[in-house]
Amino acid sequence: MNGDVLSLVGKNIPKKDAPLKVTGQAQYIQDIKLPGMLWGKILYSRYPHGRILNIDTKRAERLPGVKAVLTGSTIPDIKIGFMKDNPPLKKGKVCSMRDEVAAVAATSPEVAQEAIELIDVEYEELPGVFDPVEAMKEGAPLIHEELKSNVLKLPWKLICGDVDRAKAESAYIVEDTYKTQWVTHCCLGTSGCIASFDVNNNLTMYSNTQIPSLAQRDYIDALNAFGLKNKRVRVVQSVIGGGFGSKLDTYPYEYIAILLALKTRRPVKILFTREEEFFATSPRQCTLTKISQGCDREGRLTFREMEMILDNGAYTSWGATTPSVMMMPISSLYKVPNVRYTAKCVYTNNNYSQAMRGYGNPQATFAIESSMDQLAEAAGMDPYEFRMKNANEPGEVTPQRFKITSCGMKECIEAVAEKLNWKEKRGRHNGRGVGMASLIHVGGGARVYKSDGCGTIIKIDDYGKVDVFTGSTDIGQGSDTVIAQIVAEVLGISIEDVNVINNDTDVCPWDVGVHASRTTFVAGNSALYAAEKIKAEILTIVSHMLGEDVAFLDIKNGVVYSKRDKEKSMPLGKALRSIHYATGGKMLMAECFYDPANENFDREFKGNLSVSYAYGAHGVEVEVDRKTGKVKILNYVAAHDVGRAINPMLLEGQIFGGGVMGLGYALGEEMVYINGVLKNGNFLDYKIPTAKDVPPIETIIVETVDKDGPFGAKGIGEPGLVPTAPAISNAIYDAVGVRIKDLPITPEKILKALKEKGAEKLDEA
């Protein structure tokens, strides 16, 4: 197949749903209304830490239009989340400002809001703790008293080789501390769901989740806990206005909608306002990282040691598992034989954290790649040469037992250096500077769950039109288009003839979810194999009809034809109708459940997490105003080893989007929590970059054609933002000689560092 000329793979095909989106016809959760539907609203906590002494809902209940009011003590006892530490409505105690305390269902959102304001809650405020380091100290307020400690019992520890010996033998060692900030996903589409029960208490959830199959399971568990055993749950996804990891879990509001629907016997919709989207969804946590790295006299890395503290917030979602993915760059970004890493997730009275695009990788890579520049300087090497010397290569097995197959890391680093004119621009220290950083990410699925699979069902009608039912979700990235391209390519039909259905658990097979940049690879392979199956069946039958050896048959432009005999051909539709309308006729269907041959980590957190790995490097040229500390990005180059670009335009979209998100992370975005209270929950004060802030990003696509990927493709969903912050930070250092070690890199921080450096110089003189 790969040897043949490809007609759709590799082409810039616009997103299939683009016309729907630009004409406003796409149905987001905001657009969906059901007959008899009620509106739910949630009352959140007034304090970051406190005892709930009393909740009086009488005034709310009496308000005309109010159909149900729920509190923690009027719902069944359940706890949700990865550590099962989070009741959908809190009872006895609140542990963060985002804590859900009561909920209302009413005939309109306005009435529901009014009712919420009529609920009287009496609290006894408790002292809170908002910093994970403080929270680990003896005598710190306990978030969950029964656990006796604020440190989560999660054993994040990776040891490869002998770090102590390597340290003793290293020629150069650098050590430093890096900090990252709280940031949030900023999905354009806010969170929401509609819960609806039928007469038999089967549940339909209309949702914008990015994990339909796992969410279905969560809801089934919840229904069981509510006493509704053996019920069916159907998850129907609306068009989703961005995920970025924010919809990787099920959240209190969804269970609240279910409980309200159960109580009122009517569909209940909960839709977040933008304010709620800021303070009541789970952001990427802040981290504190101690790193030391060493190299030998020739500049070969000898060891890497990292200790990390993560603010978990008050409850636990997947945020607490990001250290498992951080292990990937820590053990395997560049060749580093000896590695030691420990991480602690700590409860505080902040909002609880969630994974976000990159799943911990951006935080870890900021420390690693900043430290790489420091080490290069200590060793007297150019950071580019230093990176090239240590870059990963195909065929390598990393200390964490990753088997590196395709790997274009060196090509990426070289391409970035060339485009930036590195040799000439580096080291001028005249207010302009260049910097770079690389990345590794999973590119062939990631076995973080028991299964990393995705199912596909394909059916083809009498006219050669295809429906593809995939488990995998499109959250805006364009996976529907990529899957359609793959199927159309295999079947030799046009992309318009492929319809992708990806939003209904009643008809779509299982999939673990949109995460780990896995969709093109896993769902793509699943679709590819299903398409190949159905194609084989078509060709076998047609070979009898045409009296031609199946080995010489193929399909192109909707025609089955012989590659050696022009006379032998048949339009696909005609062939399909002949197969269908015959005695013992057949409608063709095929399925595939593809689960990549990757490994769960063993007890030591080792194993081949992904079938293949994605690489990349970003390079930046900046200009720093020494008087104001402002940074201007003059040039931005992003090189990515993607295996193969199935749709270069959509792929670049992922790189641009990632780059912009990374830029925000590096230079502006920060959730300002003061004593647990979010102070900038709006787009005025939470500074995501605007179109005017984004420099032109030059993309370089490196195609290494991965042996396991669909047409050679690897993942690209997350990599675009992983190396942005260290690349910018390294460039700023090159420009003005100050290194900012806590994100975001604001003008204030740069100016302060410049002044301190100036004062030091004066002291020396």
């Binding site: 008087k627 104001t628 502006g668 300002v672 102070k679 900038n680 787009f683 005025l684 004060d685 500074k687 970059p689 605007t690 179109a691 005017k692 802030d693 604001t746 003008p747 204030e748 100016l751």
Partner: protein, 289 residues
């Protein structure tokens, strides 16, 4: 959001009548401040009186001075050649105000009457010696813009008065003005600090001295302020690097910024030092020296 009645008068007289007779009434021009306040429950309003259909409040006129109707949008100001050439600071002020969508509906009257310390047209109008024409049910009055602001969201306007517009004088030939908006983002951002300067030089030649200077600062005090001491310092001096630097230092002493999540006080003061000089330089360049 609280429910309100919406009124659409077509004359100033009608508008003033409505605002005097209705309960909890407020004017709305572009609505880009007032609607935000309503949604955030920072304003209790039962009646909104729209100024959008009142022709008398619109437009820019240039003759023996400049007249800008309060209902003029920022986009209209941005398009004015006269303003670009003779009142450049104001062009600077609206250039990066909000976004194109905001500039298309938001008005200069709203920006000034809202009286935010960060209002982007305030510092430019202050250095351009703007006077405010206020109309009430009992007649009209003129107020210097510097005397118009009282504090954050507070002005000398009586709640039954409206602003008709702004009058700016003609300036001598050797005059240039500028405004620097210091922000974190390139668009959709409020200034961390705003600095405006107007300089009139003795004559157009190199080595000339400053005849008149105006410096105004935003976000360094509860309201946009003039830096009077800095202005006095500049008059009679040649505007050398040293003089501009000293002007920055004096202005920084006149500034009393606070720490906020948008910027720290020390940084704002530091930026006053830097940007006063830059604003003066920009003003001088526009003079065609």
């Amino acid at each position: 959001m609280r429910r309100f009645e919406y009124h659409k008068p077509e004359t100033i007289k009608e508008a003033l009548g409505l605002v005097t007779s209705l309960n909890n009434a407020r004017f709305i021009a572009g609505g880009t401040d007032i609607l935000v306040a309503l949604r955030q429950k920072k304003a209790e309003i039962d009646n909104l009186i729209s100024l959008r259909n009142i022709g008398e409040l619109k437009g820019i006129e240039y003759g023996d001075g400049l007249w800008i109707g309060s209902g003029t949008t920022h986009t209209e100001i941005l398009k004015s050649r006269v303003i670009l050439e003779h009142y450049t600071a104001l062009n600077d002020g609206v250039k990066n105000l909000g976004s194109r969508q905001i500039r298309n509906v938001a008005t200069i009257g709203g920006n000034i009457c809202n009286a935010a310390p960060s209002a982007d047209t305030a510092c430019p109008l202050l250095v351009l010696d703007a006077k405010v024409l206020i109309a009430g049910i009992n007649g009209e009055r003129w107020v210097d813009l510097d005397g118009f602001f009282l504090g954050p969201n507070k002005t000398v306007l009586d709640k039954h008065e409206l602003v008709k517009g702004f009058s700016l004088p003609l300036f001598p030939k050797n005059t240039g003005s500028s405004y620097i908006k210091h922000t974190r983002r390139a668009a959709m951002d409020l200034p961390i600090l705003g600095i405006a300067a107007r300089i009139t030089m003795d004559d157009g030649k190199e080595g000339a001295t400053c005849r008149e200077a105006r410096i105004a600062m935003g976000v360094v005090a509860p309201r946009p302020i003039r830096a009077y001491e800095t202005e006095r310092f500049l008059v009679g001096k040649p505007l050398t690097e040293d003089v501009m630097e000293e002007a920055g230092n004096i202005a920084a002493r006149e500034a009393t910024p606070r720490d906020s999540i948008r910027g720290q006080a020390w940084y704002r003061k530091e930026m006053v030092k830097v940007l006063v000089g830059r604003a003066i330089k920009n003003a001088m360049e526009r003079m065609g020296l």
